[in-house]
């Protein structure tokens, strides 16, 4: 099926009309979701993930507490309607367990866990739609949800997938492209310019790998800009809703205060 689709045509366009280095539309919704302390609904193109963060709070199980830092608990559920083929994935599936362990290990060095000894931070990830780059969307969503919950972190974590079609590298792959070409997911800390996570599961020559790794690192800073803007907009909207209330407390005479 895959081989009949042209991944990159002669004019340099991909199957969905993007250029090689063009990212998909990024949508971020940071509004409050249910009982969660912080949540984020994020979509990279057609891949959509809902992340909710609870905590830091008391751990349900005593054995899960550490005396010097917070425990991070990640649970991932993949909706059975998220892919083209309807498939039920059990929670004990090794692939999902690995997925959760990956996200946990990615955020462990970034979250300042030592500030919350004996507590637990729960991250619940709900994969709603999958069209390539599920891991990158989950990581970006988790970063935003953690920020939304006000949990201190040393830096953003921005993840992006990349692939190589014969010799031309491209970014942010869809399922179609993922099935056909070798692909890498890279998570970077944009401020420190360091790489937290790299995973690749398909065969690729060393030289090509170097190229795509550097490209993905640069793309991380673009994502960082977008994510930062979303956080800022959310803060501004929160301030503006809280604004008039404070204003009334101060009295009617200082109405002209510039917010």
């Amino acid at each position: 099926m895959g081989s009949r689709i042209e991944i990159l045509n002669e004019a340099g366009f991909r199957s969905d009309g993007r250029r090689q280095h063009e990212l998909r539309d990024l949508n971020i919704d940071l509004s409050r979701h249910g009982e969660a302390d912080g949540s984020a609904l994020i979509s990279h193109g057609l891949t959509q993930v809902l992340v909710s963060v609870h905590g830091p709070r008391e751990a349900k199980m005593r054995s899960h507490t550490f005396h010097d830092r917070a425990n991070i608990n990640v649970e991932v559920t993949v909706a059975s309607f998220s892919t083209g083929e309807r498939r039920k994935r059990l929670r004990g599936d090794k692939r999902i367990l690995e997925f959760a362990a990956t996200i946990k290990a990615t955020f462990e060095p970034v979250i300042r866990t030592s500030l919350y000894p004996r507590s637990q931070i729960d991250i619940y990830i709900q994969v709603l739609q999958q069209d390539g780059g599920t891991l990158q969307t989950c990581i970006n969503g988790t970063t935003l949800a953690l920020i939304n919950a006000g949990i201190p972190m040393t830096d953003f974590v921005c993840a992006i997938s990349g692939g190589v079609h014969s010799t031309s590298p491209m970014l942010d792959l869809t399922t179609l492209e993922e099935n056909d070409i070798p692909h890498v997911t890279v998570a970077v800390m944009p401020k420190a310019k360091k790489v937290v996570l790299v995973t690749m599961e398909t065969r690729l020559h060393v030289d090509r790998f170097e190229e795509i790794l550097n490209l993905a690192r640069d793309a991380g800073s673009i994502l960082h800009r977008e994510m930062k803007e979303a956080v800022l907009n959310r803060s501004i909207s929160l301030v503006s809703t809280a604004g008039p209330a404070q204003l009334r407390e101060k009295g009617e005479d200082d109405m002209n205060v510039d917010y």
């Binding site: 690995e98 290990a105 060095p109 398909t202 020559h205």
Partner: protein, 284 residues
């Protein structure tokens, strides 16, 4: 019950030594323990040891009906379970996080990288294919069980010979090894896995092939599976200490050089074993 983590003096001593590029077993940071490979009497049985880590891999084949989705392809399954035999740290039942990582990594490095040609395992389309089953037993955990298991697995697959099968009309005739020489599996490439451990102190250089103590004290691992043709099959750095891209690329280059050496060693060992077997046949 988990055994206690390394004591504070042990921890400080190891970190201190590593900071000066000294490892407790006398290796330099980017040196691998040299593997010991022992072949059993049967084809496809191999014991592989890296220092104190010991792993047995065993390959067997049987004929089954293929899945309806892939009627032309044989089936390969990898079974690996870490029993408490390896170390008292492991329990039977619910797989630990480490076990999940090892199983998935073996699956990716050996199965998903298409190391074994699956179409050549087909006997008659839609009717009969070979089901190759690779079982990995972890005997002792001396650190870095993943690399050892991956090495043992790929050697076992290359060592294995399946009896020749001939299709005559509707019937399948299995020739016994005495009648016709058994045939090896069609191997596209041999991936070897290398694991690097990073430490919390950013000045300590990463080490290749961590021992059990080093692995427990590490703050993140990076595993690279690649073949002698310089193709990376799996690269996995799941969280842990953030690293520069240059550092990652440097380690990839180290792994490339190691893969070449290891591949030569494995080729030599397999040839040696084959020569030995041939001489045995002549004596009989």
């Amino acid at each position: 019950m988990r055994p206690p983590s390394p004591s504070i003096p042990e921890k400080e001593f190891t970190y201190g030594a590593l900071k000066q590029n000294i490892r407790l077993d006398g290796r330099i940071p980017l040196e691998m323990r040299s593997p010991t490979i022992t072949f059993g009497p049967e084809l496809g049985w191999v014991e592989c040891a890296l220092g104190k880590t010991r792993v047995i891999a065993y390959v067997e084949g049987k004929m089954v009906k293929p899945t309806p989705e892939r009627p032309f392809e044989g089936i390969i399954t990898i079974h690996s379970e870490i029993s408490p035999m390896a170390s008292s740290e492991y329990e039977t039942g619910r797989p630990s996080e480490e076990e999940v990582t090892i199983t998935r990594m073996l699956d990716k490095a050996i199965k998903r990288s298409d190391a074994v040609d699956k179409e050549s395992l087909c006997i008659s389309a839609g009717q009969r294919v070979w089901h190759i089953r690779l079982t990995v037993h972890f005997l002792t955990d001396g650190g870095n069980m993943l690399d050892c298991a991956c090495l043992a697995g790929i050697i076992a697959l290359r060592h294995f010979r399946r009896p020749e099968v001939e299709v005559i009309g509707e019937d399948e005739v299995i020739h016994s090894p005495l009648e016709r020489a058994p045939v090896p599996l069609a191997i596209h490439h041999s991936p070897y896995c290398f694991t690097f451990a990073f430490f919390p102190d950013s000045e300590t250089s990463p080490v290749l092939d961590p021992s059990q103590l080093e692995q427990r004290l590490s703050a993140g691992l990076m595993s690279i599976a690649l073949n002698a043709q310089k193709e990376i099959c799996v690269l996995q750095k799941l969280g842990g200490v953030p690293q520069d891209t240059d550092e990652i690329l440097r380690l990839v280059k180290v792994a490339v050089a190691q893969a070449k050496d290891l591949s030569d060693l494995v080729d030599a060992k397999l040839r040696e074993d084959w020569e030995w077997r041939r001489s045995k046949v002549e004596v009989i």
